[in-house]
Symmetry: C2
Subunit: 345 residues, 2 copies
């Protein structure tokens, strides 16, 4: 018998609703001998309004004790842009060294996507999670004057790039097509770009079976929409990964289906799993949100914690559910119920 | 009677072929009393291989004497990545202060684009051209060692942002829908993002008729493919503009149709007009390249030099040509001939 200790962060907007369904499916899929212990945390807009806190050292110490974290969504129009993103989401990714930001993109049968057309889409983006333009370096000089200068510094280290590139090669090696594409902009961002390309080429020697490819980020966006079958595993920097994975979600059925894992492969810190979508305040509390992205994030969580069979059962349940969707709108909990029934059935 | 003094830079790969057709159409459309004087420059891979030069001070002094520049494409796999991009293309944009990088995206009737579906697409991206992550600031520490650190600094100034934002408002004001969308990532890149947003809001007070909107770049990529009709004028930073305009080209019929102008609105330096596509070495010299993007860049050039009627005639000719395309492949010069016949007809 084993125990999973899970930190649950519903967050803002639709976060609460989708996380409930994620937990419902998680409980339904777990074998009898695995015990699930959850603890819910109140991070997000409400707490910030009440206390001015986003994520304290004490919070981090508590979160660190869990095996994994499930997050709904953080963000609300009532909070100035950047406060919760930098103060909570990114703070957590950096504090827990979530350097592998994993975002699968698969066009499941049954998904009607005009954008996907006849293309077969089944790739995974490995987005670096702790470096690049996301580090928060930079600043402002002469703020608010006609002479203001604002800088953002993208920091890229051999250490940080090599570990995520090696992780991506290993994932490519484990997939049938064994292909890895590096996306960067090394014809313009020559310093960072050459660091990425050199490490990509060098680490590739350890994976002779993996076919490699390089694309500039602008060209990659074209191929994402015109030839998505070209991609198997994609490795890229934090900002390019942010942009490309939203685009990937759009072509594979929408952001309502896109799951992600913020992974610390060493296990030194708990990994965090969250849908790619945001808090969607416009539809919050109405039972309209599709919890599928959260449920698929639960599958990534199970995969990460060493329960691949349960992860596969969730994916199969989602595929079956999507295949039977008629277009009639179901509530958030109705979808969760259907998925829970399928995984336990 | 007037004279247009044009610097012509065919460049590499298909550059030569498409520029010939651009000039053919330009000659055909110009009224009798406008004299066209062209001078061709040999910049690109061949010159770099021969002399090691990309763009010298003497070159810049010569180019400066022209009214405008028409460029085909620069870049070749035989040249290390970044050498010609930074050493020629970006050097020229920066030296001639091309801060308005104008990239229209219009789905012309007759273009069969599965990606566009039933959407109406008619927007223009105003990409900042002289700042952001393109400035070339940054560097490498401990190159080639396990402790390498590579940085890229995005520099954003109130001066640089305000002038391009004002230009974009003026363009929005002049269009029927009068809508301007700012794209940035101000929830993560807070220093640069807030500078952009503050200036965007402040300058907007001078344009009360213009409706405004803000999108994070990741969300913008989704809307580009799912709701392109949402956009009228988009203003954004140099890197986001690079990525978004390739995506925009992909949905409006492909990179073979996408034109651009690198504009210095003050006229202190000549503006440069070029197709968004690259040198496509795989099809170079075979008469397979579509010169339409170059021809549309000539229309932008004419617009910029104060010949709006001639620009409109080119656009109409392209629209008519596209509407009659049957799918049978025509050569580069056949397309150029057809367009030249239409504009002079
Ligand atoms: C909300 C924001 C900080 C975040 C990011 O940019 O990483 C989001 O867009 C995502 O992709 O998870
Ligand atoms: C070739 C490269 C320097 C250039 C850019 O990044 O601006 C190109 O992609 C473009 O969009 O004109």
């Amino acid at each position: 018998s084993r125990t999973i200790s899970l930190a649950v962060i519903p967050g803002d907007g639709i976060g609460q609703e989708v996380v409930s369904e994620g937990l419902k499916v998680l409980s339904a899929v777990l074998p009898q001998d695995v015990k699930l212990e959850t603890k819910t945390y109140d991070f997000g807009a409400k707490r910030w309004h009440g206390t001015g806190e986003t994520l304290t050292d004490a919070d981090l110490a508590q979160l660190k004790e869990h095996d994994a974290i499930l997050l709904g969504a953080i963000g609300d129009p009532s909070v100035p842009s950047g406060v919760l993103e930098r103060g909570f989401l990114l703070k957590l990714r950096f504090a827990f060294d979530h350097h592998v930001n994993l975002r699968p993109s698969k066009l499941l049968p049954g998904v009607k996507s005009a954008l996907a057309g006849d293309h077969e889409i089944d790739f995974v983006v490995v987005r670096e999670g702790t470096e690049g333009p996301y580090v928060g370096n930079g600043g402002v000089l002469r703020a608010g004057t006609p002479h203001e200068v604002a800088t953002e510094v993208s920091v890229n280290t051999a250490f940080g790039v090599e570990r995520v590139v090696r992780d991506a090669y290993a994932r490519a090696q484990a997939r049938p097509r064994k292909k890895l594409t590096l996306v960067h902009k090394n014809n313009v961002l020559v310093h960072a770009g050459h660091l990425w390309k050199n490490i990509f080429d060098r680490v590739g020697q350890e994976f002779p079976e993996v076919t490699t490819d390089y694309l500039h980020v602008d060209a990659a966006t074209i191929f994402f929409v015109t030839q998505p079958e070209r991609f198997d595993v994609v490795v890229t920097d934090n900002l390019f990964g942010d942009i490309l994975t939203d685009l990937a979600a759009a072509i594979t059925g929408g952001i309502g289906l896109a799951a992600s894992g913020n992974i610390n492969p060493s296990g030194e810190f708990p990994s965090m799993f969250e849908p790619v979508h945001g808090s969607a305040p416009d539809i919050a509390g109405q039972g309209k949100a599709d919890p599928t992205a959260t449920v698929l994030s639960v599958a990534l969580l199970l995969q990460h914690l060493g329960h691949p069979d349960e992860a596969a059962r969730i994916e199969a349940a989602v595929a079956a559910d999507l295949a039977e969707r008629t277009g009639a709108q179901r509530s958030t909990s109705a979808i969760g119920d259907a998925l829970a029934a399928r995984v336990s059935g």
